[in-house]
């Protein structure tokens, strides 16, 4: 069992009257790739900067490797940060940039050169040591920033929106490379991002942050399949959420009565107060689109997990097609259908009447 390398205990940060981080407690385990995910302004960057030491908590404690960081300035903390703008020093060569931290620490010249070149090779920039930053591309500058931080052998590496400035192709490539790098180097990575694809693909664990508080702390698959509340369900991927009343709640089954779509049947219990108002969430890819009358809710009693509607919108995305379906109740939902064969996208079109069904394991009941 790994020890928590970073312990955030009841940390609050206020800027005047505005609360950026609201009583957050969190343990980050050594060796994991932890991602803080959330919309702009949710407090995730503030939290990261507090770990690095550039902001001080208004209340609460931050411990790194068991040591309280109160009163410890950023240049004395055993963590290093890769900044959003990369912050590569423009007046120093690549090699000098990477060697800067070692020079300050008084490391002998020969060792600085060796370790710096090693670090550059790690990020695939070997041979570029003599270049000046303005001769490099954005992606290359990011690698310099990475090498510069990693060469210091920190206990934790912090990354502030590492992929936001890269184009789509480079972003996809860097996602793999960062995860690979972390695996190779073995230290803890903490990343901050607003991009859920990034988070899902790189993280070993994700903390979703909303308005300064943790909305959910889970692995990527748990986050996607078992969101804890509506915010997380909606933030990660698309989702259709129906409000309803929990009418049946037994260990092996549950039923939610939703005015907009009818009865939703689940094959597991929910443990919510009986007759309570809840929300049932179903992902677009978990709903099956069928011709009128052909939808059959599997493993569900007659009439459950079936609905009728009309197609009001369509987006062909190549690998799948997104449909906007207006249910009989007037509610619009999203359904995603994989184009399994070449002609699948021709099966349905605008104003077609359709019927929908889904498996009882698909819906997630949210109490918040």
């Amino acid at each position: 069992m790994s020890e928590p390398i970073i312990q955030i205990r009841n940390v609050t940060k206020r800027f005047g009257n505005m609360v950026a981080v609201d009583n957050v407690s969190l343990d980050i385990v050594a060796g994991e790739f932890f991602v803080m995910l959330g919309p702009s302004g949710c407090g995730k960057t503030t939290l990261l900067r507090m770990i690095a030491g550039f902001e001080l908590p208004t209340e609460g404690q931050i411990l790194i490797d068991g040591q309280d960081m109160a009163g410890v300035p950023p240049n004395k903390r055993p963590v290093n940060m890769v900044f959003q703008s990369y912050a590569v020093f423009p007046h120093m060569s690549v090699l000098d940039n990477v060697g800067y931290g070692m020079k300050i620490a008084g490391v002998p010249k020969r060792e600085i050169r060796e370790r710096a070149e090693e670090s550059l090779a790690l990020v695939k920039l070997d041979g570029l040591g003599a270049r000046m930053p303005d001769q490099l591309s954005g992606g290359q500058r990011q690698r310099v920033a990475l090498a510069r931080s990693l060469v210091m052998r920190p206990k934790v590496l912090l990354l502030d929106e590492p992929l936001s400035a890269l184009d789509a192709k480079l972003r996809a490539q860097m996602q793999f490379e960062l995860a690979d790098l972390q695996d190779k180097v073995g230290i803890t990575f903490i990343t901050v991002t607003h991009d859920q694809d990034e988070a899902l693909s790189m993280a070993s664990r994700i903390g979703v942050i909303n308005k300064g508080q943790i909305a959910q702390l889970a692995t990527p698959s748990d986050l996607y399949e078992y969101p804890a509340n509506r915010f997380v369900a909606d933030f990660i991927g698309s989702v259709n959420i129906f409000e309803g009343k929990l009418s049946v709640d037994e260990p092996e089954r549950a039923v939610v009565d939703c005015p907009e779509i009818g009865k939703i049947y689940l094959n597991h219990g929910v443990t919510g107060p009986h007759e309570a108002s809840v929300w049932a969430a179903v992902r677009p890819e978990k709903m099956m689109l069928c011709k009128p009358g052909e939808a059959v809710g599997r493993d569900a009693p007659e009439g459950h997990n079936v609905a009728n509607g009309i197609i009001k919108g369509m987006s062909y995305l190549g690998d799948c097609t997104l449909y906007e379906v207006m249910l009989d109740s007037g509610r619009m939902i999203r359904v995603s259908r994989a184009n399994l064969s070449r002609f699948d996208q021709e099966d349905f079109t605008w104003d077609d009447k359709v019927s929908l069904c889904w498996h009882p394991s698909s819906p997630v009941v949210l109490l918040a």
């Binding site: 550039f54 950023p74 940060m81 703008s85 912050a87 590569v88 020093f89 800067y100």
Partner: protein, 281 residues
């Protein structure tokens, strides 16, 4: 044929229009004609400076033998040098203070810092005269200390210009670079020395050149703070112009113009180099 087939002008290409070009030509002529006349007549072999009598260098030679003028020049250069050095330090400090910190009455301090730029020169000159008289600043110190009053006055009106220039340069500094330095282990002073100062360099150079030029050129403020033994170049030229127009004045003027052109070219060259180095910003 090309007279009749002109390339039609795009609507916004104002500069290519004839009337605008003529206007600029006229304005340029207006601005430069007097200077050119000065230049030409500095080689005129005539005491009266009126009719062209022949080409000569003799007034340039006379210039260098004119002790009063040469010592005034020496004073000006000394003052300019000292004033520039101190203005650079004060101006850079003030720029960093205003750029980096929030403090009570900051708007007021900013306003006061900008005042020497805005206040009419005569008011400043008068204030300096009155001040040095009121505190009975010693007037019989040996050289170069006797230039201290003038130097202090120059520093006072020069350093706000340096502040302005350096502050403009600081405005586009990426603060994350400073944080990165600290993150890598640098303390406050090391981060300033290794990251902020190199960024400020072009601004410091521009500020130094500006301060040097302002000090060298100043007349009004110096006029009020200088004495018979502490004349500066512009003040000496003024008395030559006012009281005894000698042809050397033309020669001196031409040299000063040349000096300005050289300094400006150097400044621009430095700006370009510095600009390219920081271009990717």
């Amino acid at each position: 044929m090309s007279l009749f087939t002109r390339k039609p002008l795009a609507p916004l290409e104002y500069t290519k229009r004839l009337w605008l070009r003529s206007w600029i030509a006229a304005v340029t002529l207006f601005l430069y004609a007097p200077l050119l006349v000065l230049f030409v007549f500095s080689f005129n072999d005539s005491k009266a400076n009126v009719v062209w009598r022949g080409f000569t260098f003799k007034y340039y030679a006379k210039l260098f033998k004119n002790d009063g003028l040469m010592s005034a020049l020496g004073n000006s250069l000394t003052i300019a040098f000292l004033a520039t050095v101190v203005s650079l330090v004060l101006g850079a400090l003030a720029a960093v203070m205003l750029w980096r910190f929030r403090f009570p009455a900051k708007a007021g301090v900013e306003g006061v810092m900008a005042l020497p730029i805005v206040v009419p020169e005569i008011c400043m000159g008068v204030a300096m005269l009155v001040f040095f008289a009121a505190i009975e600043w010693p007037t019989d110190l040996p050289w170069p200390l006797n230039l201290s009053a003038i130097t202090i006055a120059h520093i006072t009106f020069c350093f706000p210009f340096v502040t302005m220039v350096v502050r403009a340069r600081l405005a586009n500094f990426n603060r994350e670079e400073e944080e990165a330095a600290k993150d890598l282990g640098a303390n406050e002073w090391q981060a300033f020395r290794d990251v902020l100062l190199p960024h400020m360099k072009p601004g410091l150079i521009a500020g130094a050149l500006l301060a040097f030029t302002l000090s060298l050129d100043d007349f009004v403020i110096t006029f009020f703070t200088s004495g018979p033994n502490t004349t500066t170049f512009p003040v000496k030229v003024y008395s030559m112009v006012r009281f005894s127009v000698t042809p050397e004045v033309n020669a001196v003027s031409t040299l000063l113009i040349l000096l300005t052109i050289i300094l400006t070219t150097v400044a621009l060259k430095l700006q370009n180099i510095a600009g390219d180095a920081g271009a990717h910003k």
